[in-house]
């Protein structure tokens, strides 16, 4: 498997709810941003992936929270590949605030065609980035 990539998060004021912490759904926005950052850091711009006719779609995600993050906090998301299949792969996400674990998540992505025709094999460049032999 490939190594861990760390994505810095700037919490938006609007993402913080009445409880004073980021509302749960925004973690999925952070993970999507982190995915883009992870791909870009590996030389694979998400826009290029789309330009080549590929897109990724979530089929499963699970999140466990042990805390929350607030506006102005020092927040980072670690991205680590967990599994690489033929048309799908799993990424692990770990959200930390000042190093402390706040949320752990796993997400299963399926590679699909931009034209809506269905699943596609993971492109070679993405497969290599995920740390799996082509």
């Amino acid at each position: 498997m490939g190594g861990t990539y760390t994505h810095r998060v700037d919490v938006r004021y609007l993402e913080v709810d009445r409880q004073g912490v980021v509302f749960n759904m925004w973690y999925l926005a952070y993970f999507d941003d982190a995915l883009s950052g992870y791909l870009a850091a590996g030389g694979l711009a998400y826009a290029d992936l789309m330009a080549s006719g590929h897109d990724v779609m979530l089929v499963h995600t699970e999140l466990d929270w042990t805390g929350g993050v607030g506006f102005g906090d020092d927040v980072a998301v670690e991205v680590t590949p967990q599994r690489v299949g033929e048309t799908s792969f799993t990424l692990g996400f770990c959200v930390r605030r000042d190093g402390e674990v706040i949320c752990r998540a796993n997400t299963v992505y399926v590679v699909v065609a931009m034209d809506g025709s269905g699943k596609l094999p993971i492109p070679a460049q993405l497969r290599e980035l995920l740390g799996a032999p082509a």
Copy 2:
């Protein structure tokens, strides 16, 4: 356990992404709306719950998608209590488009004090609504 409540969803144009389907994070918004609707239908306004010093916080959620929903689709979320503990409870969510299952999810909520002092026992009215003996 208590029965199933059905919450109607009006998909927002802005929730639909380039893929033509609602972006994943908005499902968590739908579930939060459905939770409010579920409570209200049981005679327990979320605002009243908060007024009594209680709030709920997610500690775990998992979602499985088998499809997507688009703008203008007929979408509904079914809410079904799955488990009731001392300070936490689990709700099952099922998103349907024209009756077809699009997403299934389970979410574990913990009842916490609005003042940030930590967990609280599930209030009697909520416990009754969830179908568990007080």
Copy 3:
């Protein structure tokens, strides 16, 4: 000009920020929802408008707030046509909480082709709905 249409708003918990009121950007979401509701009430589904190759794009909007709305509040948006041109039209929005004016806004929309080829004349059915002679 056409008459006023009233669109009911269910404030989402996640839209309310640390200040206890809906964060400003969500008003534009409400207006987009209200636009869809306004069109649908006039027998013109937004999805159908798009299916006919038309879409609308904002070129100008201005908002004035005299208050805020919170979770659980009784909120409605009134939509009133203000001006109808060849390819553009202006809608006025008024957000009320329990009848009291919270926000007034005006938005100028341009009708554009879904294929990105540019402006189009306002379709006859939309023009009629807006209260202008075809």
Copy 4:
């Protein structure tokens, strides 16, 4: 008046709608982020402003679009103070994509007490940052 501050924007995939451009409301999120960045660049963290019992609230905003921005675009927001009053101030925003103007906006902010007690004079440090004599 104070000088111009430039805030870089990472467009989120989820902010792009069916039209292939960022949905209008997200510009207000960008402006709020840019405001925080503007304050921080001037040595005034928004969190500190809040800690001192101050917050800012929008009373007026107007936006003019001459284009749109997409995912992966090089986007920046320029922030320029326009006017400084006793309890309110106006910021001008200019969104550029690869240098080209996409949206211009003006927003009037009122300084209010975090405890909900109403308007407050602009704090000295903020006034100085905005380029007005204290």
